[in-house]
């Protein structure tokens, strides 16, 4: 019996230790973001409480000078178009592959599957030249096109769902004179809602967090998304940790809110997306 109790104590001890390891670095940044530059200078250490817990001065600076409003706007623009495009592309591909037999179908499927193995980071050297030749470089359409065009996971999620929709629905509609496009729009697409929710969540978080593609394709200040705008804090605020911290908190906060609100969907979405 005592062994059981000791084992339980050990379980909780490790869980609490892990919680501290996860939350401490984040908590300190939150504390730092509320300190004034004078408090930062007096070297009282990273773990002290700020004098004024409601000192939002650094947030105002980060938000205005760091152009965070513009960054959120650009991110939102890209997220909306990239997700809209991904949903359309993914569901159309899944519908065509699952519901039709046609020549070269195996080749088409193999092309999509093989593409899923190619790590996007590696091919950017050459992708850059192609994006550039379309005149998309330094526009918001470059990331949108890339996010839309290279997302195989979403196609896979849609495929699983299309397969679970009974073919008899298609056939009944066809007898009523519906063509392939009407079937896609009126029957398949509306029944894909759970898959769409999954893709919106997984893709939305991925696009919101992506640094590499906007960093590479949108060097203009005006086109900063949250990742690149935050990255630019390094130069001007190099020594002002209180302002950098405020910027980081501003970026993390929306993620936290979305996570708390949509926990269940997020766990499911990531499980579906990652085990493919």
């Amino acid at each position: 019996m005592t062994r059981r109790i000791a084992a339980r104590a050990l379980v909780y001890a490790t869980l609490i230790a892990a919680t501290v390891v996860v939350l401490l670095p984040l908590g300190v940044v939150l504390l730092t973001s509320l300190k004034s530059s004078r408090e930062m200078a007096d070297d009282s250490g990273a773990l002290t409480l700020p004098d004024d817990l409601l000192n939002l001065h650094n947030y105002a600076t980060a938000f205005q000078d760091g152009r965070m409003l513009q960054a959120f706007g650009n991110t939102l623009f890209i997220v909306v178009f990239a997700i809209g495009g991904t949903v359309l592309i993914g569901s159309m591909t899944a519908y065509a592959i699952d519901r039709f037999t046609f020549r070269f179908k195996k080749l088409v499927v193999a092309l999509f599957l093989l593409a899923a193995l190619v790590p996007g980071v590696t091919t950017q050297v050459a992708t850059f030249q192609i994006v550039n030749s379309f005149g998309l470089f330094d526009t918001r359409w470059a990331p949108i096109a890339l996010y839309m065009g290279t997302d195989i996971v979403s196609i896979y999620i849609f495929l699983q769902f299309v397969r679970s929709i009974p073919i008899s629905l298609d056939e009944a509609a066809r007898l009523d004179g519906a063509n392939a496009f009407t079937i896609y729009r009126r029957i398949i697409f509306p029944l894909l809602k759970p898959a769409i929710a999954t893709v919106v969540i997984v893709k939305g978080i991925a696009v919101y967090n992506d640094f590499y593609i906007p960093f590479l394709y949108m060097p203009s200040q005006d086109l900063g998304v949250i990742s690149t705008s935050l990255f630019r804090f390094r130069g001007p605020y190099g020594a002002h940790w209180e302002i950098i911290s405020a910027g980081a908190v501003l970026v993390i906060l929306p993620t936290l809110i979305v996570f708390l609100a949509l926990q269940r969907f997020i766990y499911n979405g990531f499980m579906r997306g990652a085990t493919r």
């Binding site: 869980l15 590696t122 496009f181």
Partner: protein
């Protein structure tokens, strides 16, 4: 649409997806392989065929080859990460108080923006930053610059990577464990099986596919590390990884040819690892060929 040839209908739906796929995935790969045999700088109209010179350079120039050793740190970190994820997934699959809270806390880092994580940990490892302050609480006074020497910097960055990605593995493992039917545990408990036996004979076989998949993916993962070192050190003090180096070669030093060769090498390694995985775990969760 009646007079429309039916054989063409699927191609109408596939037109846009295939166009995007070819433009942004296959065309770059073909170009990349072509560039890799040249000395192109990415801008000038002039380029010369140099044969396998770029490939020879990657494997013989020591400063370029070093990145493979850096991947070693991340490979070890992945092992730590997988073991930790397995441990937490196992204990949280049993009844534990505040289970959802712990699950959420462990998973949350994998949702956070990489740049924010980079800054959080730059402050963490700073002189007089979070880590130093905590150590001082325990009476350890150190003026060690955590990101100052190659070994310490790489260990620190690999640690950040564990912090960031452990939760994702953990949630995947937990999902796999929870899909094991509960009656199995009940039966085992009736037979007097201990927790360890339950893990050994019920959980372990049940999650073997997803764990194997994760292990294999971590090989290509540790070669493709990019965000954390790029944001935190910019590849300074010996923390250059394969991808940060490729990005620098391509976009800072305009060595498109050499960078392409590096990218081709990475691509080949990743494909080889995936092929190996297919051979080793034919029925893994990743087996997507069942689509056809």
């Amino acid at each position: 649409m009646r007079h429309f040839p039916r054989a063409l209908t699927p191609w109408l739906f596939l037109l846009a997806p295939l166009a995007l796929l070819i433009t942004f995935t296959y065309a770059p790969i073909v170009n990349m392989v072509a560039y890799s045999f040249t000395d192109w700088d990415g801008v000038s109209p002039e380029l010369h065929y140099t044969g396998a010179h770029n490939y020879a350079e990657i494997f013989t120039r020591q400063d370029l080859f070093e990145v493979f050793f850096v991947s070693g740190y991340y490979l070890v970190a992945s092992a730590v990460q997988i073991v930790a994820a397995l441990y937490f997934a196992t204990i949280l699959s049993f009844k534990v108080r505040f289970r959802n809270f712990f699950k959420g806390v462990l998973f949350f880092p994998s949702l956070i923006n990489g740049v924010a994580i980079g800054f959080v940990f730059l402050y963490f490892f700073q002189d007089g930053g979070t880590l130093d302050t905590v150590l001082r609480l325990f009476g350890v006074h150190t003026d060690h610059a955590w990101l100052g020497s190659p070994v310490s910097a790489n260990i620190s960055l690999a640690g950040v990577s564990v912090w960031r990605y452990m939760g994702l593995n953990f949630v995947l493992f937990l999902g796999a464990i929870q899909s094991i039917p509960g009656e199995l545990y009940e039966a085992a408990e009736l037979d007097g099986a201990s927790r360890w036996h339950q893990f050994r004979y019920i959980i372990a076989p049940g999650i073997k596919p997803v764990v194997t998949l994760t292990v294999i993916l971590s090989v290509s993962g540790s070669l493709s590390v990019f965000e954390v070192p790029y944001i935190m050190t910019g590849g300074a003090t010996g923390t250059e990884t394969f991808v940060t180096q490729t990005v620098k070669l391509a976009f800072q030093y305009n060595k498109t040819g050499l960078a392409s060769a590096a990218a081709v090498v990475l691509l080949l390694i990743v494909l080889a690892v995936t092929w190996l995985q297919r051979r080793l775990v034919p029925d893994s969760a990743d087996n997507r060929m069942d689509l056809v």
